[in-house]
Assembly symmetry: C2
Homo-oligomer: 221 residues x 2
Amino acid sequence: METTKTARTRNRRGEGGRLRDEIVAAAVALLDESDDERAVTLRSVARRAGIAAPSIYAHFPDQPAIMLAVVRSGFAELEQTLRAAADSTADPVPRLLAVCRAYLDFARERPQRYRTIFGGLWKPAADASVTDDDLRGLGDGALGLLAAALADCVAVGASTCDDPGSDAVALWLGLHGLAHQRAVTRAFPGPPGIDDRMIAALARLATVIHVAPRNAGSSSD
Amino acid sequence: METTKTARTRNRRGEGGRLRDEIVAAAVALLDESDDERAVTLRSVARRAGIAAPSIYAHFPDQPAIMLAVVRSGFAELEQTLRAAADSTADPVPRLLAVCRAYLDFARERPQRYRTIFGGLWKPAADASVTDDDLRGLGDGALGLLAAALADCVAVGASTCDDPGSDAVALWLGLHGLAHQRAVTRAFPGPPGIDDRMIAALARLATVIHVAPRNAGSSSD
DNA sequence: GTGTTAGTTAACGACTGTTAGCTTAAGCCG
DNA sequence: CGGCTTAAGCTAACAGTCGTTAACTAACAC
């Protein structure tokens, strides 16, 4: 599977650091296609990147450090995806909906990566280079986007939240539960329309939603 | 740490199967105290149970099979806990609340086990004895309890669910998101009162809750 | 004693993260 | 052009772990 010996041309003099990105990309690729985080070992990443295992140590102090980089890149990608969704509309309710759906889509399209990012496995084993501090506040950007979108809905009276801060967290937790369950069991669709039902309930949206009802509900209005 | 050589007395003639439970118990103990699922290896379980590694093969065909047993026992314990909570009251709303809180407590008191049970890691690697079928419908008992409690709330008019089946799943997913996040980051309390807020929103409870408000909200009603 | 059950020891092949030390080639300078 | 330096990456090897198999031993029941 990984026996493609493409004889990687080595980097130019000043650009050795370029390999760092290739290593992370290899780890991400490995993670995405193996649905088992344990498949992402230092050596398998090296094989995938077409380099020798010890070459990794020039760019990462540890094996957990590779995972941390993967997680960081995952969060960055998520945040960027959500931002794009938020920028697609100015209308508060469709916007909140777009952000939420983008979140769920992100998780559905990269189940393993989602699980790894939010799964917290990959031990910070005390002797590892990854400290507990490296993990703090990793999802804050994404949560902030969600909170802002929800606040806008409250501002125009589309949401009856009396505590938007708490409800933004609650909304995220709900999305996370749904996304994680789908990422774990793969093909757990849930009842049809569950996505929008949860979003509407947690965001306390007053009006009924029919903005591109992906998983069409049964409301024959 | 596991060097306690208590010189396990071996089982009597017909009771060899008793070791099976000890193995599962050892795996559970190991899981609970190590916050890393990968620490539960066939050999570490054997060490913990005070037996030689190959002795496990008399009771489990595989290493994944041990994990499956752990997961099964976890679900059984969860279901039993929820059932006890459900039996504590007859009043629908406090009952639903009790079940939900019991769920969250279960997860909070056994974060690693919760993560393992619902985390879906521990690969069913095609050549393993654990088939995809062994995993299907594992949490159905717990979900059923939740659905029944919610349905009772709907019946007495305390919940405005128009689709109790979907909303039971939604409620569970919300609880799962909250429970999982706490299990992952360990000491993510969330905003105060978030538990009851989520429950109330997802269960579409009409009346405000102040039944033993554990994480007292700020409502100065 | 004899057979069976409950367990053992020894060993295999494969994999892991990590270290030490070597090779290759790019780029500068004369 | 040729030589030197140094960055980029390699090979070999370590100590340890893993899951699993084969073959052996010890105790109980008859």
